[in-house]
């Protein structure tokens, strides 16, 4: 394939929106010297369309997953450039599924949308104890902490983590967003999180809004 740069980016965009493989277009883009920033921008725009299609009921969880896979193909092609530090991230997020809960699909989708928007994401995995969130905040100094809980029985872990953030003096240094089937808007308010009870795409949009507001305040 020998395409002009704009064509490559258009093909990449369409492939992502239509849930096709993006590997060949990303390789072509890399060969043409298209920057990771341009790729991230295209991926982000395409995943916004995917997110809207999900909200409008055209796409479902299966499509979000496949879109995530297509986006991942892109970033894998550019992986060595990430390791060289060529990417400028818009913010940093620490994400995990809380202690006692092993579900990760929602968390993984949230991470996919965050990365597509240009965030650096530290994925703590599942069954993450409150203390591990605190250690991650100390180590990585994120802008945002994201916690996921599918089971209502694990909601106390969220509350405990937020309390620990307060005790360690981190609460006013990070935004907290919580999600998962167990999280209601009432719970978000009750535990003092900054946002939550929304789906993965909307959650990522909220995170982007936060970092943009933070940037404008400086």
């Amino acid at each position: 394939m020998d395409l002009r740069s704009n064509d490559v980016l258009n093909h990449l965009f369409n492939a992502l929106v239509n849930l096709e493989s993006t590997k060949q277009y990303c390789e072509e883009a890399s060969n043409k010297g298209i920057s990771i920033q341009e790729i991230t921008s295209i991926v982000s725009k395409a995943l916004e369309i995917v997110g809207k299609k999900y909200e409008e009921g055209e796409y479902f969880l299966s499509e979000l997953i496949v879109a995530g896979e297509s986006a991942k193909e892109c970033f894998e092609v550019y992986e060595n450039k990430v390791q060289k530090g060529e990417i400028k991230f818009i913010g940093r997020v620490v994400v995990g599924t809380v202690e006692g809960d092993l579900h990760d699909i929602g968390k993984n989708l949230f991470i996919m949308f965050l990365r597509s928007m240009g965030f650096e994401v530290i994925d703590l995995g599942v069954d993450v104890p409150p203390q591990k969130f605190i250690e991650a905040v100390k180590q990585y100094k994120p802008d945002i902490v994201g916690m996921s809980a599918l089971l209502t029985t694990t909601l106390p872990s969220i509350e405990k983590t937020i309390k620990l953030l307060v005790e360690h003096g981190f609460r006013d240094k990070v935004k907290v967003i919580i999600g998962g089937a167990a999280v209601s808007k009432e719970f978000v308010e009750a535990v003092g999180a900054d946002a939550g009870g929304v789906d993965a795409y909307e959650g990522a949009l909220i995170c982007r809004k936060w970092v943009e507001e933070k940037k404008n305040e400086r």
Binding site: Y59, F60, S62, I65, L102, H103
Partner: protein, 365 residues
Amino acid sequence: MVLSHRERLLRVFEFKGVDRVPNYEFGYWRETIERWHGEGLPLHIRTSRDIERYLGLEGLESLEGLPIVIGIWPPSREVVLKEEEGKEIVADGLGGIYVRKKDASATPHYIRYPIKDREDWKKIKKFLDPETPGRIPLSWSDVAEKYKDRDYPLRVFVGSLCGWLRDWMGIERLSKAFYRESDWVEEMIDTIADMVVNVLDKVLRDVVPDLAWFWEDIAYSKGPMISPKLFEKYVVPRYKKITKILNAYGVKIVVVDCDGDIEPLVPGWLEAGVNCMFPLEARYVDPYKLRKEFGERILLMGGVDKRALVEGGKAVDKELERLTPLLEEGGYIPTVDHRVPPEVSFKNYMYYIGKKKEWLEKHHP
């Protein structure tokens, strides 16, 4: 009018008059039964079936099931590989490894699914051979004779076309396979459907059950895990293979057990001949909306909001009142919309059961 249990079930689902609607419930979590043992449930009552008998319910655990094997056969044997605090790492016998909590009813979390690729599938496929001995009792003619003049309903489990694949592969791998390797997905669903049809063909000529039962669990709070587009293209045609043989032998009630918001999948199921939706989780599904949209084409089972039982008292009364028009119309059998969770006290549950019995006597088609 005094009807047998079987007549009640069949007439309700034919929108005909009955003496009362069958009194079924979905079941109870282990933690619920443990809680209730401390609140008055006799200690010798240990299982959902025990509770049904204790309370005089007619099902669903107590419903007689046709004793054939649809699914993985011979059964896989689990081995606990490692024990850690509060949890176990388990090999499922099919190539998968999962983590499960000790002493809890949570869904196991796979760290390695049984099927990653086509090679793994080839190994699993051998367990779906319809000709493997033991799927049908060797004394089949005696078994068939038993059901000849029954006055109770007979249920036949007819498998799972999506839920099993989700269990064996994970929704992420399955979703990718639908888009990147659809031929493989079609082959897997065809294998399952053909196994079901093959076994049914051998038994339905001798025994005609009253209802068939699919299990799927491919929906959640936000809707189906797989899109209706994929569902209708790849799965509905395979359901039709199974419902065709069921209908040919006179099995008219075909239930699908699927939690979550199922509404986008209902048209596909109805087109496929799957006509009874269960358990209608009240938080996500409006049975009145389904009845309005699909009329008497759709049968309904479930729908009693478990959250009303958590609250108890007037909340239960209000919930039963909400469902009264649906009950009186026919085509609907109420149950709590999932297994009763441990947040429900024994006192509240007994209140609900007492009120439900009166309600079923008073209101019916």
